[in-house]
């Protein structure tokens, strides 16, 4: 769809254009304060752009969120798939720890300009706005979740599909909570455990999840 121009005239997809500035500012502010915690005016001010541009380019505040969400998830999921493929090349079935890291590492990567992980956006949003958000989650993660659930099933053949679902759910909780970054554990540990340190999180979280996922199957009624 994108057409190359002969001139240097700014197009909508270039970094400094109005919609790009809006998406960048919105990603940061939504991640910091959620959807209801930020106004369109604040986003426009942070982007140094006219407030009316939001309606013009994205139809509404929700339209802007949808675009932010999409652009946010796409590269993260691509990196997840790339790492998962690499893990599969190293071993069949892939090592459990490698699958977990392929899922977690891209989620904890820091965004370009902010100091928060990309996943904080989703962690913060996951509580509110359930109408629109369910749609966005399904659109952006059905394929990704399915593939990782399959990979976990390969690694853990002693488990039923339901075991995998439950444990994948708990895994998501640990990752989201960490990405949301409540510094509670940093306070309690007097600074020694810092959820903002993604390498430390991966080092601690992967063995924890590996052990949890490898637990014996749960007998169900």
């Amino acid at each position: 769809m994108k057409i190359e121009r002969h001139t240097a005239t700014a197009t909508d997809d270039e970094p400094g254009s109005t919609p790009e500035r809006l998406v960048a500012a919105a990603e940061r502010l939504f991640a910091e304060r959620g959807f209801n915690g930020v106004s369109v005016r604040e986003i426009a001010a942070a982007a140094a752009v006219n407030p009316a541009s939001v309606g013009y380019y994205f139809r509404s505040k929700e339209g802007l969120l949808a675009e932010v969400y999409r652009r946010h998830c796409q590269p993260m999921n691509e990196e997840r798939f790339r790492l998962l493929a690499a893990a599969r090349e190293r071993a069949r079935p892939p090592a459990l720890a490698a699958v977990l890291e392929a899922f977690i590492r891209p989620a904890l990567k820091l965004t370009g300009d902010a100091k928060a992980p990309v996943t904080r956006l989703r962690a913060v949003l996951s509580a509110e706005n359930s109408e629109l958000l369910d749609k966005l989650v399904a659109e952006n993660f059905d394929r990704s979740s399915g593939r990782f659930i399959d990979a976990l099933g390969e690694c853990l053949p002693h488990l039923s599909r339901d075991d995998i679902y439950w444990r994948f759910h708990f895994l998501l909780g640990a990752v989201y909570y960490t990405a949301a970054g409540p510094h509670r554990i940093r306070t309690l540990s007097q600074g020694r455990c810092d959820p903002a340190d993604s390498e430390a999180v991966i080092r601690e979280l992967v063995p924890f999840l590996s052990a949890g996922l490898s637990a014996p199957p749960v007998p169900r009624p």
Copy 2:
């Protein structure tokens, strides 16, 4: 402080009084939609009470939240301590699974009138409003968290204090995410795994966390 009256006149602490009605309605609505997602007017309407009462009894919307939070956490923590003491009576050190269940079960209990776990309130709030919320969390949970971290340390003498902190953090993530109730896993599993079924959650979560917490200590630089 409460004084018994000779008459049936309503006092501030009686179930149907204005502040009680406000707290009950606010607990439900804040848990459903977060702090920014609900207006004082909506809360007052749900309580069938005048909107101005919020300012009168609680000084502000935030004051109402603080009261809701306090009343919400206190009985839950009391039940946690009661269950933890019972686990200690059965064995010294207490069984790991018993400690975990003592922490989790009261958090997943359903509120009186709503169908959501009491913990959903905290899960939803934990993303937004960090200024006030950090204060509330510290006020309401420092004692509780400390005692459970100690109990986990007793159960898991092979772990360092930092191992315990990290794993307690991941535990919180799994519990909060479940309580926030994203039915994502219910959809993916075509209804077979339902995070709203607290008995099922406890059955699945306790073995998962037991195994995760019991993992070998992580070598740290």
